[in-house]
Assembly symmetry: C2
Homo-oligomer: 556 residues x 2
C-alpha cells in the first residue's frame, strides 16, 4: 500500500515535466524539423541523474543485458554476499541455492546461507539501494566491493517481474527472524518497504534472499551450473547445495574444514598513488605534519622511510600538511617513487595457493599433466594484488563437439575466489595469454586466436581491489602491472609445459628406436653368425651384449 501512496506525488511531478516535453514534441512532429537549441534552452534541460536511474537504464553494465546472463548474475551476486558474510564471521559456509521456473522465461531465485545474518535496520538499504555497502571504503580482499551487486539484482527483478525482493534474516538464535519485502525507488535511489514482519527461520542465524526475475536457464558453458561448480572449486571450505530449475539437485560438500583467514584491512601502498590523490589526502589528513602523515596514511612507511622521502623531496618533516601546496606535493610524489619502499603486506590477500589451485583444476578436468605457480604480491595504483596460475594438459574431452579439430585453450578466470564466466576476451587475463607466444611452449597458435590443444588454464587474481571493466564484474581491466604479473605466472607454467611436451616427444622417439633395435638385432645376430661362423650360444651372448650397449648409449 505504501507503494501506491509514494507513487502519487511522483505522478504529479512527472506530469508537469512530460506535459511540457509532449507539447514541444508535438510541434516537432508537425514540421519534421527541430528548432535549433540555444544555450538557454539546453540549460533548462540539465538535470541530475540518480544512480539507480542510471543503472536501470544501463543494466547491461551490471550484467543484465540478456536473460541467460541476468539469471547467472543474480545468482552470482547473492552467492558472493553469502560467502563474504560467512568468511568475515569465520563461519564454514552452508549454502542452499534454489532456482524455480515459473515459466520458461521467469524464475524464482532463492539463496540461503548460515552466515551471521543482517541487522534489521540495514536490510532495506543493503537490498534496495545502490552504492551502499560495507566494503567500498576499505582496502581488503572480498568478493563484493562496490555495494551495487545484490541491490542491482533486486532492481532487475523488480523491473522485469514487478516483484519486490524478499529477505528473511536472523542474527540471534534467541530472537525471531525478520521478514522483509523491499523494492528500490529508482528516482530517489532509496528503498521502499512493502512488507515488514517477524517470522520463523530454521537456522539459528543466517539470511535467505528471494528474487523473482526474467531469465533463461540453459546448460553448458557460462551456465549457472558451471558457475556454481567453479565456485565450489574456488571455495573448498564451502558446502553448496543447488536445486536447478530442471529438477536436478547437486551437492558440493566442503573439501576442507578450515575457513580462509580473514583478510586484513590495509592502508594504500605509497607506490602508484596519484598526485592529486596524495594532495587531497595530505590536505585532509588528521596528522598535522608531513612525516607522521606519511607514516600513518600509508602501509610500509616507517619513520625512517618517511624521513627519507621528506629529505629527497627537500621538505621539512614538520611541514603542516593542511597548508601544503601543489608544488610541494609534486616534489613529494616524485620523492616517493625514488625511495625504496618494502613491498605491500601480503596478509591482506588470501591466495588459494599453487597446490590447492592445481588440485582444484584436477577436480574439474582429467588430464595427463598439471602444473601451477603462485606469484608474490605486487602493486597497481597503490593496491596490492597477487596472481596465481594453473595449467592442465592432455585433457580428456568427453565426446565434445570439437572431436575432429584441435580445441582452443580453455580458460578459467577467478577473481577473489569468484569465477568470471563472461567477457573473456575483454579480460586482462585473455590479453596476457594472447600476448604470450605459446609456440615457445610447444603449443600451436594461429594469429589473433587462443593457442590450440587439449589444454586448460586457470588464473586467479586476488587483490584488495580488483579493477573490473564493468560493474558486472566479468572481466579485469587492462592495467599494465596486472597484465605483466599474469604473463609471468603463465610463462612459468608454460615453460614447465614445454619441458614436459618436449620430453614426452623424446620418449616417444626413444620408444620407436628401441622397437627398431628389438626388430633388427636378431638379423644382425644371424649376419654375425654367418660371417664369423659362431655357435648359437655365442651369438646370443653377443646379441644380448650388443643390446645392452645400444640401450646404454641412449640417454633418457
Amino acid at each position: 500500500m505504501a507503494k501506491v501512496k509514494k507513487a502519487k506525488p511522483k505522478a504529479k511531478k512527472t506530469k508537469k515535466k512530460t506535459a511540457g516535453a509532449r507539447k514541444s514534441k508535438v510541434r516537432l512532429r508537425s514540421k519534421k524539423a527541430v528548432a535549433p537549441a540555444t544555450a538557454e534552452s539546453m540549460a533548462a534541460k540539465q538535470r541530475s541523474i540518480s544512480v539507480s536511474e542510471f543503472f536501470a537504464k544501463n543494466r547491461h553494465l551490471l550484467g543484465f543485458d540478456n536473460p541467460r546472463k541476468a539469471l547467472l548474475t543474480a545468482v552470482k551476486e547473492a552467492v558472493d554476499n553469502s560467502l563474504d558474510a560467512c568468511e568475515e564471521a569465520q563461519i564454514l559456509p552452508d549454502l542452499l541455492i534454489s532456482i524455480r521456473a515459473l515459466d520458461d522465461s521467469k524464475f524464482v531465485l532463492t539463496v540461503k546461507d548460515n552466515g551471521p545474518g543482517i541487522v534489521k535496520s540495514q536490510i532495506p538499504n543493503i537490498f534496495a539501494r545502490l552504492l551502499y555497502g560495507s566494503k567500498f571504503h576499505t582496502l581488503k580482499m572480498s568478493r563484493g566491493q562496490q555495494g551495487i551487486g545484490i541491490s542491482a539484482a533486486g532492481m532487475y527483478g523488480l523491473l522485469t517481474s514487478g516483484e519486490p525482493v524478499q529477505i528473511i534474516s536472523r542474527t540471534n538464535p534467541k530472537k525471531k527472524a525478520h521478514h522483509y519485502h523491499v523494492q528500490i525507488d529508482t528516482v530517489k535511489n532509496r528503498p521502499e518497504i512493502v512488507l515488514d514482519e517477524e517470522c520463523d527461520f530454521d537456522l539459528p542465524a543466517g539470511t535467505c534472499v528471494t528474487i523473482t526475475l526474467e531469465g533463461k536457464y540453459q546448460k553448458g558453458r557460462q551456465s549457472v551450473d558451471e558457475y556454481i561448480a567453479q565456485t565450489a572449486m574456488a571455495n573448498p571450505h564451502a558446502t553448496i547445495r543447488y536445486n536447478a530449475p530442471d529438477g536436478n539437485n547437486y551437492e558440493y560438500p566442503r573439501q576442507t574444514e578450515n575457513v580462509p583467514r580473514v583478510p586484513i584491512e590495509i592502508k594504500p601502498h605509497p607506490y602508484g598513488i596519484e598526485l592529486g590523490v596524495l594532495f587531497k589526502m595530505a590536505r585532509e589528513s588528521s596528522a598535522k605534519k608531513l612525516a607522521p602523515f606519511l607514516k600513518n596514511e600509508f602501509s610500509r612507511v616507517t619513520p625512517r622511510v618517511a624521513g627519507e622521502i621528506c629529505h629527497k623531496a627537500k621538505l621539512r618533516e614538520t611541514l603542516r600538511t593542511s597548508s601544503i601546496t601543489l608544488q610541494q606535493v609534486e616534489k613529494l610524489h616524485a620523492a616517493i617513487n625514488q625511495t625504496r619502499i618494502m613491498a605491500p603486506a601480503t596478509d591482506c590477500i588470501a591466495p588459494v595457493g599453487a597446490e590447492q589451485l592445481e588440485a582444484g583444476l584436477a577436480r574439474v578436468v582429467e588430464a595427463d599433466f598439471y602444473t601451477a605457480y603462485s606469484r608474490s604480491p605486487s602493486v597497481y595504483r597503490g593496491n596490492p594484488f597477487l596472481v596465481e596460475a594453473a595449467l592442465a594438459y592432455g585433457i580428456k574431452t568427453n565426446g565434445s563437439s570439437e572431436t575432429n579439430k584441435e580445441p582452443l585453450m580453455r580458460l578459467i578466470r577467478i577473481a577473489n575466489r569468484a569465477p568470471l564466466l563472461y567477457q573473456q576476451s575483454a579480460c586482462a587475463i585473455y590479453k596476457a595469454i594472447m600476448d604470450i607466444n605459446w609456440r615457445n611452449y610447444a603449443l600451436s597458435q594461429s594469429r589473433g586466436a587462443l593457442p590450440t590443444g587439449p589444454v586448460m588454464v586457470m588464473v586467479h587474481i586476488a587483490s584488495v581491489w580488483v579493477p573490473f571493466t564493468s560493474e558486472s564484474k566479468e572481466a579485469i581491466a587492462h592495467y599494465p602491472e596486472i597484465i605483466k604479473e599474469i604473463q609471468l605466472a603463465l610463462q612459468q607454467c608454460g615453460r614447465r609445459l614445454g619441458i614436459y611436451l618436449r620430453k614426452k616427444k623424446r620418449i616417444q622417439q626413444e620408444m620407436d628406436k628401441r622397437r627398431y633395435i628389438e626388430i633388427y638385432l636378431p638379423y644382425i645376430g644371424e649376419a654375425l653368425q654367418e660371417i664369423l661362423t659362431l655357435r648359437k650360444s655365442q651369438v646370443d651372448t653377443v646379441v644380448s651384449k650388443l643390446k645392452r650397449i645400444l640401450e646404454r648409449s641412449r640417454k633418457i
Copy 2:
C-alpha cells in the same frame, strides 16, 4: 581559497573515522588474526557511497585505466560534447583540439568549439559533477548520454595533476565570456568553484575547456591522432584542427555544408518494454485511463492499437492506471507483444547513409572494392537503433609490419558518429563478425580469430540509446537484437564481396586461358597448314576465325 576552507570540516570528519579504523587495525596487526565479525560489527561498517567516490576508485570504468587511454578518453569526451552542442544548435562545428606536453607524462588538453556556449549557472555542475546532464532523460540520438564524460575527465585530471578544470564559455556576442576554474568534491559529488571571473573570448559564442592530466602520447592504432581522423570521417560536416603534442598540426576541413538534422526526441516503443517498467509507468502516468496511457506514453500506439491491446489483454480501456495491479500489467505486457505495432519512427535516428559511409571508408583506405549497406531501424528493449556497414577489399598496405603473412581483418567501429577505439573484442560488432562464417564469402578465417585478408570493415550503430559495456563507451553490449542486425548488414556486404572475389578469380582464370590460346593458336595454324596444305592467307583466316570462336565460347 574556498577549497582549503571546505577541506577543514572534511578533515575533522575523516579524523574520527580513520582514528577508529586505525585502532582496530593496530589490534589486528598485533595478533595477525582478525576477530570474527558479527552482524552488528558489519552493520556498523555499512555506508552509502558517493557516485564520484565510486568512479574515482573505478576510473578504469570511465576509460582511465592507463595513461595512453586516459589522454584519448579525455579528448573524446570533450570533442563529443562540442559536436553534440553544435548539432543541437544547428551550427557547423569548428573545433580546435590542442594537446601540449608539460613533460612526457603530463599534458594540457584544450578543446575549443564555436557552439552556443554554456549558461554560467550550469558550468560548475556540467564540468565537476557526475551524473548530471541534459541527455540522460531523453530518448534521442547523441554522442553523450550519461552525464558523466567530461566531468569524469575533469576528475581524472584533478586526481592525477591536482589542477582544476578551466572553462571559458560565451553564450552571447553582446556579453563577455565567463572564465571558471572548477573541481569536483568527490565525497559530495558537487563542484567546488576555485576561480570565477569575466574575460574576453575571440568567438561571438562558444566554449573552451582545458584539462591538465597525466597521460601518454603515442602514435599508431588507438592513438589520439587516429581517433581524430576517424571522427573527422564520421562527421563530414565538421572542421577539425588538431595541434598534436609532437608539434604536428593537422586540419580536417568539412566535406559538406549541411548540418545533420537534429534528431527528434521520441517516446519508447512498446516492444521490448519490461513488465516492471510498464507497471511503474502505468502507476505514475499522468494519463488517468489505460488506453490514453498507452497512446501518450509510447510511440507508434494509435488509439486503434491501444484499443486492440486492451482488448487482447481483456482489460477495460477506461481502467484507472493509478490502481492497476501487477496481474493486470502482466496481461497487458503479454497483449502488447501479441499485437502488431508499426516499427519505431526512423526520424529519431540520423544514419550516416550507405553512400557516405562508403565514401568515408574510401577516404581512409585505398582499396580495389568497396561496398556498404544500411539496415532499416530495429528495436532493442524499446529503443530504436539502426546498423550500417561498409567493407573495403584489396587494401594497399603501405609497408605495414604484416607484409609477409596475410593481415587480420581491420575493423572500424562507430557509435552515434563517435569512433570506438578500445575493447574491440568485447564489442557486439566483434562478436557479430566472429559468428559469421567468412569462408562463405571467399575469405580465409582460422577458428577463434578474425578473418584474414586485405579487408577493412566499418560498422556504424546509431541509436537513441547505445548500450555500451562500460561508462567509458568503448564497446557495445551483447544485446541479441543488436548482434543480429549487425550480422545481417555484414552478411549483405559479405555476399557482395564473395561475388566480387569469385568473379575476380574467374576472370583471372579466363586471362590464363586466353594467354594459352594466344600461345598455341599459331602452332595449330602451322599444323593445319601442313595437314591441309593451305596457303598463308587461308591459314590466317582460319586462325582468326578459330580465335574468335574460342573466345566467344567463354562466358564472362
